[in-house]
Symmetry: C2
């Protein structure tokens, strides 16, 4: 702690580096854990975004996830092909597609979430429960709630 601005020239204290690698590793672990369910970590994210407040239009789901609507198209194509989601034109606004989880999708989400939660716990195993909860809480407040309910 010098007063002259010694700025710890240490890669391993760099937040970008830490967050990038932490993300990479949990994504890797989760992808492995989800393998039996036929979806990857990204697809779980889409299912979670949809499960929040159905029914949703594609665009609403995309905003919730923080991805582009054009990206959402491809994700939903894949999930629909697997029978996990269904798309129907919105009766009130036929430009929109209402996206819903199928029964299979809901069941897959349930099981995949259990596996994903286990992967997270494995990932966080070296932390105390308090530190793990603090980490999650801090990240939540940093990311800020994209709680656009419309």
């Amino acid at each position: 702690m010098s007063s002259t601005g010694e700025q710890h020239l240490d890669l391993r204290r760099n937040l970008i580096y830490l967050l990038k690698h932490a993300h990479f590793r949990i994504a890797e672990l989760t992808t492995e854990a989800l393998e039996p369910f036929g979806i990857d970590a990204r697809e779980l994210g889409v299912l979670l975004a949809l499960a929040g407040r159905e029914p949703k239009s594609q665009q609403q789901a995309a905003q919730h996830l923080g991805i582009d609507r054009t990206t959402m198209v491809a994700k939903l194509d894949g999930l629909e092909a697997k029978g996990l989601v269904s798309r129907h034109p919105d009766a009130n606004d036929r430009r929109r597609n209402v996206v819903e989880l199928t029964d299979t999708g809901r069941e897959t989400l349930r099981k995949a979430t259990i596996a994903s939660t286990q992967a997270e716990q494995d990932f966080l195993a070296s932390l105390t429960p308090q530190a793990a909860e603090s980490l999650r809480r801090s990240l939540r407040s940093l990311v800020a709630p994209p709680d656009t309910g419309d």
Copy 2:
């Protein structure tokens, strides 16, 4: 906390989602903060990796950063073109390039690190100092020290 396995079907508690978006945002903030110095957040990472224990071969630097050696080539091409690093064949093993920061590179790193640290502090501003330090410490232990000093 139900005992039946209610697995919080909430995207915003999902670690991958949180880490991905946290990474995205700090990378964005840092890139802005580094703009005056002519480097981006990734290039700062490379400079930091090099500054650790010079002199280093390209491959050692790449391993330290956790990127492929072929990726390192392009990064160093850019940094060399900007006059921030220099490459010389290793006298003891002429297959290797020893990569070092130039004086300009060292000075750029110094200033960029100050700006980057400020960006991190801005990013973490909503956390208590304790929570911020806990976050960094937890992330460090999760990422694990790639302290291959050779």
